[in-house]
Each structure stands twice: as C-alpha cells, then as structure tokens.
C-alpha cells in the first residue's frame, strides 16, 4: 500500500472523487479506490498474507475435521478438564481484552471526554470483534453449536451464571454493532441512520456499562462453581467477579494501546492526522486509566488472599507461580506505566501495555487451565486444539484489518466538508 501511495494513489476516504464528478461505488470503496488488479497485486506483495494463507490452509482443514469427526478428534476429550484452549484462551482471554469498547464509550459519551474521540471507534471495533470471535471460539467448543439459542428460547435456566453470560454477550454484541453503525453509515453514505443511532448513544453506552460489568464479572463467577478445583490463590468466592471485572479494565485499555500501536506502525496510510498526532497523548491518557485499574486490582487481590486466609499457599510452588504472575503481570506494568506517565514516554507505556496484556492472558489461562484441577494431573492441550486456536485468531486479525482498511475507524470520513462546499 505504501508503494501505491508513493505513486500518487490516495486511499479512499470520501464519497466523490477529487472534482466531484464521480460518485464512488461500493465496489470502489471495497477496493480502497484501486483497480481490482492493483488491489490483488498489493495483497500478494504483503508477506503477512502468505503466512495467513498457510495458516488457513492447514488450520482450515483441521477446523473442518472438528465438525466432521467431533470434539474427540481435536481435543483430548478430557472429562476432568472439560474446558480446554477454546474457552480458556478464546473466551476467557479474548473477552477481557475486548473491554476497550465500553471503557472508551464511557469515557467519551458518559464522562464527556471528547479529547478521546480519535481513538473511540478503534476501541469500539476492538470490543465488537473481540466478542464476536469469542462467540466463534465458543461455537467451536460447544458440543452442539446449533443449539446455541436454546438458553434464549427453548429451555431457560435463569439461575445459572452462564445464562447471564449468554444473554449479556448476545445483548452486548448488538449494542456494540449499534455503536459502530455511525462509522458504517458514513462509509455507505446514510446520514439518517447515523443521526438515529447518535440520538440514543447515551442509552446504548450505559447499557454497555451494565452488560460489561456483569458479564466480565460473570466469567469470573463461573469459576466459583469449582471451589475445590481452582487453586485457592486464583479462587475467591466473594471477590472472583470483581477480580475479573477490575482486571478487564486495564486489559481492555492495554489492548487498545497495543492495537493502536500496531495500526500506527503497519497502516499509517489509513490513519488520518487527527489520529496520528493525538496518539501519543491518548496513549498516556489510557495508561493513566490502566494504572488506576492496576493498583485497584492489586489491592483487591491482596485483600482476597487475606480474606480467604491463603497466605500459607504463597510459600508453595503454586504460590511462587502466583507471585510471578502478580509481579510480572501487574506490578511491573504498573511501575512502567507510572514512569511513562511522569516522564511522558509513550513508547514505554506501549511496552508496559504489552506486558499487561500478556499478564492478563496468563491470569485467565492460570484460572481456567493451569491451576484448574491443581490436585490432579496437568492437562496439555492437543496439537489440533492449538492449531484451531491459531486459525481462528488469524481470522480475527484478517477481519480486523479488513474493516480498519475501509470503515472510518482510524480516519474521519471527508463527507461533511464536501457537503458544505
């Protein structure tokens, strides 16, 4: 793409061409204003696409075998570890990293911090896609994915935590779609649709906060069903939901920093000046929020250990593993964030965000897989399970990139000035 821009191509960002003589069609918009051959040529030039091609060929085949031969073919069919990587990674790691949508929605729409606007849509998209692919992971893991709607309409078990998760994730997905409709409406040139959504954005955002608080917490509460199975240091009946909710705050913000960094590095041509010039300032702003959440999380984690009387476990091997998670995944990013804020070092904040993201992934994997059944043996996922996870995550990245290239997420649509002139 960079070569094409050097040759004088301008990525499409409005409804009409330069002299307003031609209205771009949907096809032009999909091809970013390039001709089909130009578009294909640039896709072939990108080495990342070749990597994806390999992943989708191999991984696509393995994923199909899961549906042809059943879960028993791609997993170890463990009765003791009913949840493997699909949920351990796909659901429990993806969802907290997607909390950015409601965080930035709240910041901009509820708290009126319009200075965060340049990054709001990226946060919303990160949320929407993260949830969408968490559901894709869930669909791979469910024994009978075609019965996904059963808890909604066929046979309701309203007292179960998972019932709440199902309803909330479904509702929240639609809320997030609605929140991103304005971007789509600009791209398609449907101003009325945008106005309609804008008129209820506050309600949508508040609904998003409620749903997020509850389902982020509910994912933690799912483990309260297994008091004897999750290691006591990762388990706390009264605090589990708050641990998961609170950590989702810095997880979402850190993920947003990571994603925005990737956007800046790899698709600067698609970002407008508003995004690029503000990004350093916004990164520090996000780092401030993440640091507040990190310190809150650290304190409540210590309180949980004290409340449940788990100090004794700290001396064990599991305790050292726990302390490593806390030091490397919580305290270290917290200190780095603090240094970066005080000295205005956005680069350091980005590094800290990456560590925080990895830290939260470790925490969720610890809870769902590694310390789960700590009294039994350790389950190592089947290689096909790993391949399917990589494949779906690649699909997630490709979808993400497809939308970022097109919809006005990183740049603003130039329609308004055009209409005025």
């Amino acid at each position: 793409m960079n070569t094409l821009i050097a040759n004088g191509k301008v990525p499409l960002a409005k409804h009409y061409n330069e002299d307003r003589s031609v209205e771009w069609s949907v096809k032009d918009k999909l091809l970013l204003g390039l001709s089909l051959s130009e578009y294909i040529a640039q896709a072939f030039r990108n080495p990342l696409n070749w990597l994806f091609a390999v992943i989708f060929t191999v991984g696509g085949y393995v994923t199909i075998t899961r549906f042809l031969f059943g879960l028993g073919y791609v997993t170890h069919s463990s009765y003791d570890y009913p949840w493997g990587l699909f949920l351990g990674f796909g659901l429990f790691v993806m969802v907290p990293l997607s909390a950015s949508g409601f965080m930035l929605g709240t910041t901009v729409e509820v708290f009126g911090r319009d200075d965060f606007k340049p990054i709001e849509r990226l946060a919303l998209l990160n949320g929407l896609l993260g949830y969408l692919f968490a559901v894709v992971f869930l669909q791979v893991d469910l024994g009978q994915p075609w019965r996904l709607v059963y808890p909604m309409f066929v046979s309701l078990g309203p007292a179960a935590v998972l019932f709440l998760v199902a309803w909330h994730v479904a509702t929240y997905l639609s809320v997030q779609v609605a929140e991103l409709v304005p971007a789509f409406a600009e791209w398609m040139g449907m101003p009325k649709l945008k106005t309609f959504i804008k008129s209820m954005i506050l309600g949508l955002t508040i609904a998003g906060i409620i749903l997020s608080t509850l389902h982020q917490g509910a994912l933690g509460a799912l483990f309260t069903y297994a008091p004897g199975k999750v290691h006591p240091l990762w388990y706390s009946a009264p605090f589990q939901w708050f641990h998961f909710f609170c950590s989702s705050i810095f997880a979402g913000l850190s993920m947003l920093i990571v994603v925005s960094t990737i956007c800046k590095k790899t698709m600067a041509w698609r970002c407008d000046k508003n995004f690029l010039t503000n990004l350093d300032r916004l990164t520090i702003g996000l780092a401030k929020g993440a640091t507040l959440a990190l310190i809150t999380y650290l304190v409540i984690k210590i309180i949980a250990v004290a409340h449940d009387g788990d100090w004794g476990y700290l001396a064990s091997g599991w305790g050292q593993w726990y302390m490593l998670e806390m030091v490397a995944g919580v305290i270290l990013p917290m200190i780095l964030f603090t240094i970066s804020i005080r000295n205005n070092l956005p680069g350091l904040a980005r590094f800290a965000a990456l560590i925080a993201v990895l830290g939260i992934a470790l925490n969720r994997l610890n809870t769902a897989l590694i310390t789960f059944n700590w009294k039994l043996y350790q389950e190592i996922p089947h290689w096909r399970e790993v391949v399917i996870c990589i494949t779906i995550y690649s699909l997630f990245i490709v979808t993400y990139r497809f939308i970022l290239y097109r919809l006005p997420i990183l740049y603003s649509w130039k329609k308004d000035e055009d209409a005025a002139s």
């Binding site: 059943g70 009913p82 509820v110 808890p151 179960a160 935590v161 019932f163 209820m200 309600g203 609904a207």
Partner: protein, 302 residues
C-alpha cells in the same frame, strides 16, 4: 436546546431500562438457600468394609443402561490396578485402595452421588437437570448444548461427555436408574446385583440412622463419619469406611455448603448493578457535561 437534550437523555435512559428488563430474568437464584433435600428422597449407603471389588455393580449398570461393551470384561480384575473415573461408557466404576497398616485393600464404588442441591443442576443454563422427589438427579439430553459447565461444577468429577459423537454429543452420567426402577420404588440395578450387601437402598433419612447404628455397634471398625451426610449440602449416596476417607480417594475438603452458596455472592450483585448503574452513570454524565452545557448556554445568550 435544553428540551432537546432532556428528550435525548430520556430516550437513552429508557433504552437502558429496556435492556435491563430483558436481562432481569437472571437473578432469581436465592430460593434454595437452606434446602435440605426432599423428605422422602431415597438413597444408597455404601459400606466400604463389605465391598470386595467384584465389579458386579459395573456389569449390572452396563446392562441396565444399555452401555457399550467394555474393552476388558467385567470379570477381569486387572483394571483395578489403575484408578479410573466415570466415563461416557461407564456410569459407575470401582477402584482399589491399599491402606497403610491394613492387610487388605478397600474398594470404593463411585457414581453420581445425587446431591440434595446439585451443582450440575444450578450451573446448567438450559435447565436440563432435575432433582426428583425420589432423590435422583436426572437430565434431559435433548436440550444439552454441550457447554460442559456441569462437569466443571461437579465437585465429585462425575458427569462425562460423549466427545466421540459428532452430531449428538451429550452429558452422560448415572441417573439412579430413575426411568426403569427408582420411579417405581425399586432399587437401582447395581444395588440389586451386589453379592455382599455392600450397598443398602432405602430412604435417605433412614440410611443415616442405619449408618450411625453400624458405627455405634462397631466403633473400632468404622470411621466415625458418614461421607455424604453433610458434604456439599448432603448427597443421596453415602459412604461408610474403615479407613480415613482421604485414604480411599474421597475429597475431604469439600465442606458442607452446597456449591451454589459460593456462587450466590455474585448472584446478589446482579440486581444491584442492573438497578443502580443506570442512574449512577446517567448522573455522572450530567455532572461531567454540566460545564459544557453552561458554556453553550452562555454563548447562546450572547
């Protein structure tokens, strides 16, 4: 300008309310706080001192439930060399435990314990499980989505899953022979097949008396505890043992609270968030944007 804003705000909060009412269904989980089990629930008392590990119960279960033939026949006692668990093909299994200081091993039959307040039931989001007044925990496989939360929730590691099935994988576990026997007041197949009377079928409350009587009569033989009388809120299947329970594979750290009581802490948070958050955050919004609004009004006055 002002009225416009208020209308926008009202619309917004209405939508939040509508969303809240949709999800409201998820919070009525507190009715069973101190449910001690159905008064006439049946149960089985397993006496480990009588079991010789002959696996007759496994064979009877296999036949009664129409399960696939096992890889090794039920006469083959070499399977006892490794600890086994319930699976999609075996709803009950017997394990052998060597007890330090005792000259003979003990055998423990495991199957679904049919809890008074089952964790599987409370964790199921399609309400597939039912605790019947007769004491059995049964389930409806036609609604099972396959999330396997019940397997995570079960403190005894009992429910298995038919992973091998492609089109209709479901949960598999002991149902106390409910359809074929318990419903008609008859004992389950395993109990009937036991040649040593290691399994006693009866009303749960009577079995507790029987168990206590045996302990009283032979205090030197039995551990002074009926496993399952109070564990995780009490179970329909209960055990007597001559060795400490942790030496014969029982989890002695489960406590007496039903699993649901650990989840309630979160369930009580749900209605609070649903009712308090809308007002709280709408309030934050009004506070946060108050100055902007004032500025705008000042400008329009000028």
């Amino acid at each position: 300008m002002k009225t416009m804003n208020r209308r926008k705000f009202l619309k917004g909060s209405l939508l939040g309310g509508a969303a809240a009412s949709v999800i409201n269904k998820s919070k009525n989980a507190d009715a069973s706080a101190s449910f001690g089990g159905y008064p006439d629930a049946m149960g089985v008392l397993v006496d480990l001192t009588r079991c010789v590990g002959c696996r007759s119960c496994e064979a009877a279960c296999n036949k009664e439930q129409g399960l696939p033939a096992p890889a090794q026949s039920f006469d083959d006692l070499s399977v006892l060399d490794h600890e086994r668990r319930t699976s999609e093909g075996a709803y009950t299994v017997v394990n052998r435990y060597e007890i330090p200081g005792q000259d003979h091993p003990l055998f423990r039959k495991i199957q679904c314990n049919h809890c008074n307040e089952p964790a599987c039931l409370t964790s199921c989001f399609v309400n597939a499980y039912t605790k019947t007044p007769e004491g059995a925990v049964i389930y409806d496989p036609t609604v099972c989505v396959g999330c396997r939360t019940c397997m995570v929730a079960c403190p005894f590691y009992i429910p298995a899953y038919s992973y091998s099935s492609v089109l209709n994988p479901v949960i598999k576990k002991c149902i106390f022979c409910y359809d074929t026997r318990l419903k008609f007041g008859r004992p389950p197949a395993c109990v009937e097949s036991c040649p040593r009377e290691a399994l006693t079928f009866g009303k749960r409350k009577d079995l507790i008396k029987t168990g206590n009587q045996r302990i009283k009569n032979h205090p030197d033989l039995y551990e002074d505890h009926i496993y399952g009388e109070n564990e995780v809120g009490g179970t329909s299947w209960m055990y007597l043992s001559s060795a400490p329970f942790d030496q014969v594979g029982f989890d002695t750290d489960l406590g007496t609270q039903p699993i649901l009581s650990y989840v309630k802490e979160f369930l009580t948070v749900v209605p609070m968030v649903l009712t308090i958050w809308p007002a709280l955050f709408a309030g934050f919004h009004l506070l946060a944007t108050r100055k902007d609004k004032q500025k705008k009004e000042e400008k329009s006055e000028i």
